[in-house]
């Protein structure tokens, strides 16, 4: 009796642990397939890179600009204008646009745009039993489908981060202009406070976000079951899991980066 009660209480947790474990297995198998020759995925990789870039650039542009204009731009400019220190906004944008919001918004947009498309694509192939057919033909779906998506998402998320930082900083410039400020002070504090560590931390973090999103979305797509409702449900779960995983990883990475690089914490 107690056996069944315990089993029932831990049943949801059990399936969650199983899924995390399966995703880890998929990650290692993907990395192994990516480094071990032959490399048959060149064309698919280029196709996926273009696909993600074409889908993501416009939502990312609007999202970063809107978020950076509202949250750090106008809120911080409002507070700084009370002190008459609006030139300090540049230093603040190092924290927000480069270290925090740039990578995070890139991850949210890539997960919402490219991750969902990957899950929908792979899920549809799974439902139509194309993945099984590939395996029968002797084509490894991990090597030919997951690896190019994994590499493409890692590369493109890292590169889109630069794009997001540029548009985040232009939102900061817009906030300065809304307060009728000259831009010299903004750029002076921005370049005084920005460091190489900030930039590589941001890009590295974003690349790893891409890896997380690719693995979660590929896994959910490849394990979709249950017909029409199944693909939609897989997309739903994939995007929730990737968002929570990305935000949690961001917290851990930021805490480690800031704690191990004290030079980021000096004000100039």
């Amino acid at each position: 009796m107690s056996d069944t009660a315990i089993a029932r209480a831990f049943l949801p947790a059990k399936s969650a642990f199983e899924q995390v474990g399966n995703m880890m297995i998929l990650t290692t198998r993907t990395i192994a397939a990516a480094v071990r020759p032959p490399y048959p995925f060149g064309e698919e990789l280029v196709g996926q890179l273009l696909f993600v870039l074409k889908l993501s650039w416009f939502p990312l542009l609007i999202s970063t600009f809107a978020l950076c204009l509202g949250a750090p731009g106008l809120q911080a400019a409002g507070a700084l204008s009370l002190f008459g220190a609006l030139d300090r906004l540049g230093g603040f944008f190092v924290l927000t646009a480069i270290r925090w919001i740039g990578p995070l918004v890139t991850a949210v947009v890539v997960a919402g745009v490219a991750g969902t498309a990957i899950t929908a694509d792979l899920g549809a192939r799974k439902i139509r039993e194309e993945l099984d057919a590939l395996q029968v033909l002797g084509v490894d779906p991990i090597k030919n489908l997951v690896v190019p998506r994994f590499l493409a998402l890692m590369i493109i998320t890292g590169l889109l981060d630069i794009f997001a930082i540029v548009f985040g900083l232009s939102a900061g410039i817009a906030a300065e202009l809304l307060y009728d400020q000259p831009l010299g002070g903004f750029f002076a504090t921005l370049f005084a406070n920005a460091s190489i560590t900030d930039l590589w931390g941001s890009v590295l973090m974003c690349t790893l976000f891409g890896a997380i999103i690719a693995v979660v979305c590929s896994y959910k797509g490849m394990t979709a079951t249950g017909g029409a409702a199944g693909v939609g449900r897989a997309v739903n779960q994939a995007v929730v899991i990737s968002l929570v995983a990305v935000f949690f990883f961001n917290y851990v990475f930021t805490a480690i980066l800031l704690a191990t690089n004290p030079e980021l914490q000096t004000i100039r």
């Binding site: 196709g47 996926q48 273009l50 696909f51 074409k54 889908l55 416009f58 939502p59 609007i62 999202s63 809107a66 978020l67 204009l69 509202g70 949250a71 106008l74 809120q75 409002g78 507070a79 204008s81 009370l82 002190f83 924290l95 270290r99 949210v108 947009v109 919402g112 745009v113 969902t116 498309a117 929908a120 899920g123 549809a124 192939r125 439902i127 139509r128 017909g227 029409a228 409702a229 199944g230 693909v231 939609g232 449900r233 897989a234 997309v235 739903n236 995007v239 929730v240 968002l243 929570v244 935000f247 961001n250 917290y251 930021t254 805490a255 800031l258 980021l264 914490q265 000096t266 004000i267």
Partner: protein, 270 residues
Amino acid sequence: MRGATSIGWLDMPRGWLDAVGELARFGSRVAGLVYSGRVLKFFGESLRQAGILILGSALVIWAFVFILGLQCGIQGAYFFRAQGVPAYAGLFAAWCDLREALPYAFGYILSAKVGTGIVAELGAMRISDEIDALEVMGIEPVTFLAATRLLAAWMVLPFLYLAGIGIMYAASYLAVVEQIADVSSGGYLLIFWTFQNPPDLIFSLIKGMVMATAIVIVGCYYGYTASGGPVGVGTATAQSMVVNIVLVHIIGMLGTVVFWGANPRAPIGG
């Protein structure tokens, strides 16, 4: 499935221009059905949807909000340590939590969990012809499927949001006072509570609820108009997520401009 080469660079903004009018018409129709009270015919269904929202989404929303609260805490703590006033991490935490991060976190996780969930559910109903069956049985499908979900969201989400504020505050407190530990509990809380007041809470709630309304309507629209078999449901789910993310950011920015753009509402100076 659309190939990588078949989509152009401008397809996405062009698709939105097509969809925006249809979305606005569908949204006003659903909101009208709720506002005029015709949805009350199916109040039981609304309660069932509210229950699904609470049981299915509350824990995910709160976990997400908790993580973002931790982030607000550490970012603020390190920034103000650099400035030499670690106690003012409370200022960053108060504004970040209440004014910006919570509405955005709420919008992200709602579009991911609730929005795409609605598309997957309604889309599956659409392509297995269940929605046509409802119409044949004399039940108005928009009222029964879309308006009940919007009413359920309006009934449940304000409370989830308010509880989320508490959870986020607790997370920021943990990050600043327990994890970074530059400032005492009293010093942090003094600044933290000084830099917020009840109207800020109302503004933040309005921002979150406008986002929630938009997300539910977008979800219902894409699910209701899904076509093209199982693949079509997956594609519609993916498309709704893109539209939702952009809408969340635009609503967030407009909310900031309207509520705090002209007056930063800070107890500084005269």
